[in-house]
Amino acid sequence: MRHVLVSIALLLGALSLADAGGKGRQVRYVGIHPLPKGEGGGMCYIEGPHVHLFVANKLEYRDHDGANYFIGDPVAYGYDGPKHVYKGHHPVHVNVVVGDPVEDVEWCYLDGPHYHYFAEPESPEFKVVGGAYFYVGAPPPVYVEARPAYVGINAMYRPIVYTRPVVEVVAPVGWIGAGVVVGGPGVVVAPPAAVVVAPGVHIHAGVGVVVPPPPSVHIGVGVSVGGGAVIVPGRVKVKQKKFKHR
């Protein structure tokens, strides 16, 4: 019995030594990103390509030319630099943000209002209303295909308490987060994969596109409006409020 206990103790000792001394391999990152709690938390502000020894999680990171690129809300981790408000899902032109020639469009699946540290380059795909970016383009199949793998990010952010943006503005026509809205207030058909046939309305990749004028009710693609977003017709205002992501 004593031999067994000694063996176990030796094994545990060897494992802990290996863990302490056996530094990992270089893991490539590009752009700012959160630091794991085990490493002290907070943010890493290195914008260019760089390395650490810890690995990136699957929900918040995308591969960009072999490096991990963070697509999440940096403010949730104490980021204190310049920031921009987005609402709902949208593409991220990673190569434009990091400034390299490897073209790469990834998708952010955060529901509701959130921050990024980058501003979108001007394009018809985005409308800025009330200081917030709304994606109004036609989402490609790759967005829909990858959605199940990444929407889990919302459950990950829900318990994080931090100052989120509050967007009090009528979402522009064609906003991706609008889901499907039929007629006036109170009539909502929730997506995903809903198809609506209405004059002048086109449906792409199973994601609803909205046309009717306000007042209307909007449901975020995926799960919820999220982030305590308040849409008030006629008002154009972005303010901050501390609350939990819902």
Binding site: E39, G40, C44, E47, G48, H50
Partner: protein, 139 residues
């Protein structure tokens, strides 16, 4: 007393004065970097409020004109190449110098320079100093 005389005679024969200058030039201290992009880089860092040590020659496999020093507590290696294309090619090999003995590190080509940085003491966990170093580097 006899030792002092011997040293003085040897110095006189060998020409200690000239030798010192030559040694200083060979050591690659930032003070003796007469001109060029590496000198500009060090000056930019200093102007930006960073504390830069003297840079001393360092032998590495991916460059023949490399100098190592510190910026604050962060280790830095600056290699000079004939062209921007050449320095860009050495970014990946540069990560061998960064190694695994660090919290964070980077190797970025800036013009004809390759700047490799390794935070071996976790003195810059937020990476703000490293980011500042890279932002201040002339392109």
């Amino acid at each position: 007393m006899r030792t002092i005389w011997i040293v003085a005679i040897v110095c006189a024969i060998a020409g200690c004065d000239k030798g010192d200058k030559a040694a200083a030039a060979g050591s690659g201290s930032s003070a003796t970097e007469e001109s060029g992009p590496r000198k500009d880089l060090v000056e930019a860092w200093k102007k930006g409020g960073l504390t830069v040590s003297e840079l001393a020659p360092e032998k590495v496999a991916f460059g023949t004109d490399c100098k190592k020093g510190t910026v604050g507590a962060i280790e830095v290696l600056v290699c000079q190449y004939a062209s921007a294309e050449e320095s860009k090619k050495q970014e990946t090999p540069g990560y061998t110098w960064v190694g695994e003995n660090m919290f964070g590190g980077t190797c970025q080509a800036k013009g004809a320079l390759l700047i490799c940085v390794a935070d071996r003491q976790k003195s810059d966990p937020s990476g703000k100093t490293i980011q500042k170093m890279m932002s201040l580097a002339p392109k």
